[in-house]
């Protein structure tokens, strides 16, 4: 149990740092894409909802940990390969259908949706790698 909690917290913290770094990278290299966040479809920053953004890596970590504990025996091989498989499954099952319907319903560009897909897959890869290391 201690290992499970530890791996959720470690993965959550790493994903949080990664999300902040990726936003700064996106601002630096893809400013045109980031400008789209000024679209009215996105919430204005507000203390009543900002905390939801900063806690999302821990929600992702917790959900992926549940998935990991239930299906980790299906993922064979080294840490990197297992992490890659978790990322692939998460991307195909969780991300693609949700982003498909998101793109159909909300006025956002395909480029933005693809960055979210890449971001989700990367999150799952990093979390999967941490779980494989801490709690194989």
């Amino acid at each position: 149990m201690k290992k499970i909690i530890l791996s959720v917290l470690v993965a959550g913290a790493v994903l949080l740092v990664m999300s902040l770094l990726l936003i700064f990278v996106e601002i630096k290299f893809f400013p045109g894409l980031v400008e789209e966040y000024f679209s009215p479809v996105f919430r204005w920053s507000d203390t009543s909802t900002d905390w939801l953004f900063y806690t999302h890596p821990f929600v992702v970590s917790l959900a992926l940990k549940w998935f990991w504990e239930r299906y980790k025996d299906l993922f064979k091989g080294g840490d990197l390969l297992r992490a890659f498989e978790v990322a692939l499954v998460y991307g195909i099952i969780a991300m693609v259908p949700v982003l498909w319907v998101t793109y159909s319903a909300i006025d956002i560009s395909l480029g933005m949706v693809l960055t979210w897909l890449a971001y989700g897959i990367l999150q799952a890869f990093v979390a999967g790698y941490i779980f494989s290391k801490i709690n194989p």
Partner: protein, 177 residues
């Protein structure tokens, strides 16, 4: 009746701002109101004192050339409730002996989003034909001067910065000419 100047339609005003992504400039697309500035000369202070004289600008006419910034700026400035940016002229150095390109000082009240703030201004005077002239200048202001919060998205990681610079070039002709 006290002398007056009429603001001509060729007048221009723009706002320069920035976000943590890039810079933007919002131009006023059309200046339609023929506002009139009435004044009296105070010989003791060598100043022109304005009376109920304001330039009115429709905030919904601002175009930032980036559709998301344009709509966010209007929302930030609460254009739905306060559609006008008003520059109330209070006083200005007497222009009688001012040479071409010379700077003069003055005071204005800027009314934005229901708040009024006083600013000291510096204008460059450019003379035109037939007693026409232009006042050019700029002023750095903060959204917070008017109790406004610049927009931020993604929990504030993507945001418009507090400082904006208002640049203007107001064209005047004497009333009645």
């Amino acid at each position: 009746m006290s002398p007056a100047w009429v603001v001509e339609s060729g007048s221009q005003l723009n706002i320069e701002g920035s976000s943590n992504i890039n810079r933007f400039t919002c131009h006023i697309r059309q200046y339609l109101q023929a506002d009139t500035l009435r004044w009296v000369r105070d010989d003791r202070l060598k100043k022109l004192i304005f009376r109920n004289s304001a330039v009115n600008i429709d905030i919904n006419q601002f175009d930032c050339h980036q559709k998301y910034i344009t709509s966010d700026l209007r929302k930030t400035l609460r254009a739905d409730k306060y559609p006008q940016l008003r520059i109330h002229f209070l006083s200005m150095d007497d222009l009688t002996w001012v040479q071409e390109g010379q700077k003069v000082r003055g005071q204005v009240n800027i009314e934005l989003a229901g708040q009024i703030k006083r600013y000291d201004m510096e204008y460059t005077v450019i003379h035109g034909q037939g007693n026409r002239f232009r006042l050019c200048g700029s002023k750095q202001i903060l959204f917070s001067d008017f109790n406004l919060v610049p927009p931020g998205k993604l929990a504030g990681l993507v945001r418009i910065n507090q400082e904006i610079k208002v640049n203007f070039e107001l064209h005047f002709r004497p009333y009645g000419s």
